[in-house]
Subunit: 361 residues, 2 copies
């Protein structure tokens, strides 16, 4: 980071930033946050933003509209970080781990609302054996697997009903059922919007069918959605049709560091260390698009270098002088963000905020 402290970049023009740099457009971030809140209001759903894409206090503050209440985290490191940052009503979206129960137990004591997932009777037994002191209760979501095939109990499994009943009615003074949780991760395999809608519809139907088959009032309706990626969006979401291209707030700023005319290539100072290899199943060109230059293709990615060619082989080197910057639109924002210790938020071409994500587990 240029030997300067991060904060010394506040006010700097983007072109002066040391590259590669993760940059976020503030207006786009704000628009994405506002649109999602509006959409949820219109649907009568509570929005509980997932923070795993950005992992920053600033991003979660924006997503919660400043309330700092009601988020989803994917790791205990995130849970502690956001709790320490003044957030509450935190759902740890992971089947509660016996070997880290002490940490969950501390968070359950410390926060007004710390919620966990359950998908097994063993998990419930664990909570019942380790009550939260001070008149507090374990707050539990039953994790259903509605076709995603990762964690969760299948709603058609007879044990699912038994577990829901046990959670809801077993020892309400110790464990309270907050809701039923499902994740449509299988939509990432979809090629178009109707396919995504079909999965969302199937998931909703499966959850509602399960809830209808079961009498406890806590499970009466779909009440919350937990989107995560929407604050940044990315090339993948834009290709899936989840967002418009102009709603993608994230870029990796990179510089042209060399001209290699004999092979028709520009060399960039952005490799997989700044971008990740997500999207690269069929080669590096899937990992990012070059903003404003649809004919440029990323054809190579090593740790700290990227190689760019023109689609038709006709690269106009004079348009891309050594030292000039390009903005890469990454395929998968969660993966790209994980590579950066700081994000530069900009408005009108200048750095206006620095966001620092939490790491680790």
């Amino acid at each position: 980071m240029d030997g300067r402290t991060d904060s010394s970049w506040l006010g700097a023009p983007l072109e002066q930033l040391p590259t590669p740099a993760l940059i976020l457009d503030r207006a786009t971030l704000r628009g994405n946050a506002e649109r999602m809140r509006e959409r949820c209001r219109a649907l009568g759903l509570r929005l509980r933003p997932h923070v795993k894409t950005h992992k920053t206090l600033e991003g979660a503050d924006l997503a919660t509209g400043g309330t700092r209440r009601g988020i989803v985290v994917s790791t205990l490191a995130e849970a502690r970080f956001f709790a320490a940052g003044g957030f509450d009503d935190i759902l740890y979206a992971f089947p509660v781990p016996r070997w880290r129960l002490a940490e969950c137990w501390e968070l359950a004591q410390r926060l007004q609302e710390f919620q966990v997932l359950l998908d097994s009777p063993q998990g419930l037994e664990l909570l019942l054996q380790n009550p939260v002191p001070g008149g507090k209760r374990w707050l539990v979501w039953l994790k259903l697997d509605c076709g995603n095939g990762r964690a969760g109990i299948r709603p058609t499994d007879p044990e699912a009903l038994a577990l829901a009943r046990a959670i809801a009615l077993g020892s309400p003074e110790l464990v309270t059922l907050v809701g039923v949780y499902a994740h449509c991760g299988n939509t990432y395999g979809c090629r178009d919007i109707p396919a995504i809608q079909a999965i969302a519809r199937d998931t909703t139907a499966a959850v509602l069918e399960f809830v209808a088959a079961h009498p406890v009032p806590e499970m009466s309706q779909l009440t919350e959605v937990h989107p995560g990626n929407y604050l940044f969006y990315d090339l993948q979401q834009s290709q899936l049709g989840s967002c418009r291209p102009e709603e993608v707030a994230i870029r990796v700023l990179t510089r042209v560091i060399g001209h290699y005319r004999h092979r028709g290539q520009l060399l960039l100072d952005c490799g997989w260390a700044a971008l990740s290899l997500h999207g690269g199943q069929r080669g590096p060109e899937g990992c990012a698009a070059v903003e404003g230059h649809p004919r440029l293709r990323l054809v190579g990615l090593t740790q700290e270098h990227g190689q760019v060619e023109a689609e038709d082989g006709e690269l106009d080197f004079e348009r891309f002088p050594v030292g000039s910057t390009l903005a890469l639109i990454p395929f998968h924002a969660c993966a790209t963000a994980a590579m950066h210790p700081v994000y530069f938020v900009h408005a009108e071409g200048r750095v206006v905020e620095l966001w620092h994500p939490v790491r680790g587990w």
Copy 2:
């Protein structure tokens, strides 16, 4: 990290570590460092270890045999980190960037030896126009492209000789030619040892031919090698035949967090956030092997979850209780290490050191 400070894990048995965790076997690390030093001694070559895989003071101390002299770095963040950590004789293996010249200039002043790469007359001109004060000189390696096709000037290009001559003979009081640099990154595309040896042989021949065609004494022989990955090694290097399986020092420790018998799967608490997606071109199973269980296959990787199946569908769930640990051998150590804020070094089953890598640029 379990809410505890990292150092509180010193002495802890590996099985108690919060997972996922990057673990390194100390005896294997030491063996790898010693063997590479021995090999270089036998070949009469100086070993200048590349630190980009581990990015830690401790790893570089081990690789330099405690001298803390003579390393290669890939970013200026690394250069500053190692300079502050007492290292000197640092080669910044990147064509010297005009827009970050001030940082290079500071390092050139601060260190006894700070070396940079050049592959263009413009780069040389830049250094000549910005002399290092105090009687010091810019120390320069000419970067050749011997078939790798990334940075560098081709040795057969007439401009290469002209540039070498200009560096070596132009203004020796300002800029000194230290050597000629080539990187056989193209060996990663090789399927067997003879193919790798052929590329190494071609690269060596190209460099020596170039050097022989040019009269300056500084370029009289191949003098240094700059390996990077060998301290950790990984599944890829083991598959390429660059190391024996028992020489791979790196693992990601993970826990079984669920049994999904209806689909014959274990769920792990290690996703791409702890492993990267490197090696996954043909699916997640390329990203890591499960140590000691050759029939287990990684069939799914999301941000924080991994899914494992048995090759023949016959998974013995009793062997892998929920909460038990597995060790994953990652495909690409550089990429996996980049995902972790701390590495746990172990000996005889206990944590004996904690290494903290530098990040960013």
